[in-house]
Symmetry: C14
């Protein structure tokens, strides 16, 4: 019989699977950081502007990682 414990188990397993998405922002943000460092190395005077746009882009790329975090927390604390 499938029972409440099965539901809880699936919720916790699903929380773990949801976090896998975090490897996407990790790779993408690292690439952004790499180009940021390269750009500063070429044009140190523009370091302020480069940092500002890089941080903005990375912050926006962070969102899907946060979505996964939210879903995982909901799965763990509300459904398991």
């Amino acid at each position: 019989m499938f029972n409440a414990e099965f539901v809880s188990g699936m919720a916790l397993l699903g929380a773990g699977i949801a976090m896998i998405a975090g490897l996407g922002p990790g790779i993408g943000q690292g690439i952004a950081a790499s180009k940021g460092a390269e750009a500063v190395g070429r044009n140190p005077e523009a370091a302020g502007k480069i940092r500002s746009i890089m941080v903005l882009g990375i912050a926006l790329a962070e969102t899907t990682g946060i979505y996964s975090l939210i879903i995982a927390l909901i799965l763990i604390f509300l459904k398991a």
Copy 2:
């Protein structure tokens, strides 16, 4: 027997799987941020225009991540 708990379990597992899509926007947006930083480094005068188009592109790329979030929330709160 498959029962209501089985349905709930599948809904929660499906929510976790749906979030995997978030790695796509994460990678793509990071690439966008990297090119944004590079472009600002090359042409700091155009920083405003570059930021505006970069944010526009990233915002549009965010959509499929949000779709996954919506589906996951529906699966969790309406079906499990």
Copy 3:
């Protein structure tokens, strides 16, 4: 015995799997945004035209993500 709950469970699991497609547009649109930012950085005067074609392309690339969203919603609300 396979019963109505099995059907519902498969529908909800299928909805989660369908959303995985969203990582494709996410990556592709991010690449489009990256080239848009690069192009504006090289030729700021053409920013309007670049934005217009970039948004057009991204909007068309969005379609398969929307198809997945539609199928997932149908699976969840009509079949589960």
Copy 4:
């Protein structure tokens, strides 16, 4: 025993799996959009011609995504 519900369940699961194909056009169309933006940035005078061929190519690339949508709809509404 495999019964009608098993058939319905497989149809709905199959619909979800079929939608995965949507990540292909998503990536491909995004690449097309990226090159469109780049080309307009280099040669803004040709923006009209570039947009026309880009949209044509993207529309043709959309087809396999639509095939998946059709098959998924058939699976859901005629077979489940």
Copy 5:
């Protein structure tokens, strides 16, 4: 016991799996569209010739996607 419903279920699942092939033409045709846009941007005078060969190539690349569609339709309507 494996019965007629098992056969139908496998046919519908197989139809879904067959559609995955659609991601190949999707990516390939998108790449073709991207190069078409790039080529028109470089040489707008040749737009007609470029469009003609691009559409020809994309149409031929479409074939395997159509094969999958045909097989999926046969699986769904003749075997399930």
Copy 6:
């Protein structure tokens, strides 16, 4: 017990799996089309020769997709 229905089911599932091969020609032919468009853009005078060799290459690349189609049809109509 494994019976005739099991055989039919495996044949139909196998037909679906066989079609996955279609993503290979799809990607490859798209790449060929992309280079064809690029080559015509660079040298429009040679458009006839380029088209002729491109179509020849794409036609030969089509073969493995056709093999899969043949095997799938045999599996469906002769064995299921």
Copy 7:
């Protein structure tokens, strides 16, 4: 109990799996066709020689796809 039908089923499933190899030649031959078109575009006078070596290479690359076809046919007609 494993019986003759199990053997037939595995043979048909194996035939489907064997066809997956066809995506390799499909990608490879497409790349060959792309370079053939590019080479003709650069040096139209050598179109005959280019076509001859390209077709030779593609024909040799076809072999593993044919091996899979042969094995699949043997599995289907002699063993299932």
Copy 8:
């Protein structure tokens, strides 16, 4: 019967799966470090600025790895 031990087991398995996301930041941050070293090698005078933006980018890319760590710790200590 699914019982409390099943829930605990799924929580611990999910914790392990969640940590897989850590390979994303690992790759991305390594790429960032590689470009940082390259940039310093080209422009040693800007080493301070390059280091500062590189560390900023890497720190932001670290976040999804930390999210996974948090979820894994919660799964282990609160749910298993």
Copy 9:
């Protein structure tokens, strides 16, 4: 109970799996053909020498595909 039919089934399934290796030579030989066509396009006078080394390389790359064919044939005719 595992019996002779199980052995035969595994042999036939194994034959199908073994053929997957054929995608390797398919991709590799296609790349070789692509470079052969490119080389002839650049230096048509050396077409004979290029063809001779290309065919030699492709023939050697064929070997692992033939090994798989041999093993599949042995599995099918001697063990199933």
Copy 10:
């Protein structure tokens, strides 16, 4: 019945899965080391500064590998 041994088994299996994340930092840090060596080869005078930023970046990229180690140790010693 799922019992304490099942929990222990899942914890140990999860510990093994968690360690897979270690391939990410391994690849990334190797890339960083490769660029470090290249940069020193181009500009040996800056070897000190290059080493310092490379080690800093690699140390930060190490973190997600350490998170996995910590989770694995917790899973093994506290939960199994």
Copy 11:
């Protein structure tokens, strides 16, 4: 009960899996052949030396494919 037939079945399945390794040499040797053709096209006078080193390298790359063949033959004839 696991019996001698189970051992034979696993041996034959293992033989099929072992052959998958053959795709590695297939890809690698094809790349070697591609560079061999390119090198001859650039420097036809050195064709003899290029062929000799290319064949040497391909022969050494063949070894792991042969190891797999040997293991598969041992599995089939000594253990199944």
Copy 12:
């Protein structure tokens, strides 16, 4: 029933899975070695400095491989 032998079995299986992480450092360190050789070839006078930074980077990249080794040894000797 899950018993102590199940725990031991999972520990040993987990040890094997944990070692997969070793392919990451293997690829990364090889890339580092390739760039080290290239750098020495370009600037033999700096061979000492290049070797010193290359070995430092490779040693740091080794760490996640060692973590996996440690976890595998713990799993084998303390838990199985």
Copy 13:
């Protein structure tokens, strides 16, 4: 019940899985051979030195393939 035949079966299956590692050296050595041919084509006078270092590198890259061969042989002859 798990018995001695189960152990033998797992040993033989494990031997097949271990051989998959052989695709790594196959790809890597092929890349080495490709660069060897290219280098000889550019600098035929150094053919002896190039061959000597290429063979040395390929021989060292062979080792992990040999490790897999050894483990597979041990699994087959000592444990099955």
Copy 14:
């Protein structure tokens, strides 16, 4: 019931899985050998120094392959 034979079987299966890591060093060392050959071709006078750093790097990259070998041997001889 899980018994000692289950433990042995898992140990042997785990040994096979652990060896998969060997494809990492195989690819990486091959890349190192390719760059070594290229570097010698460009600068034959530095062949000694290039060989010395290449072998050093390859030897360090070998380590994770050896770790896997050690773990596999331990799993086979101490635990199975």
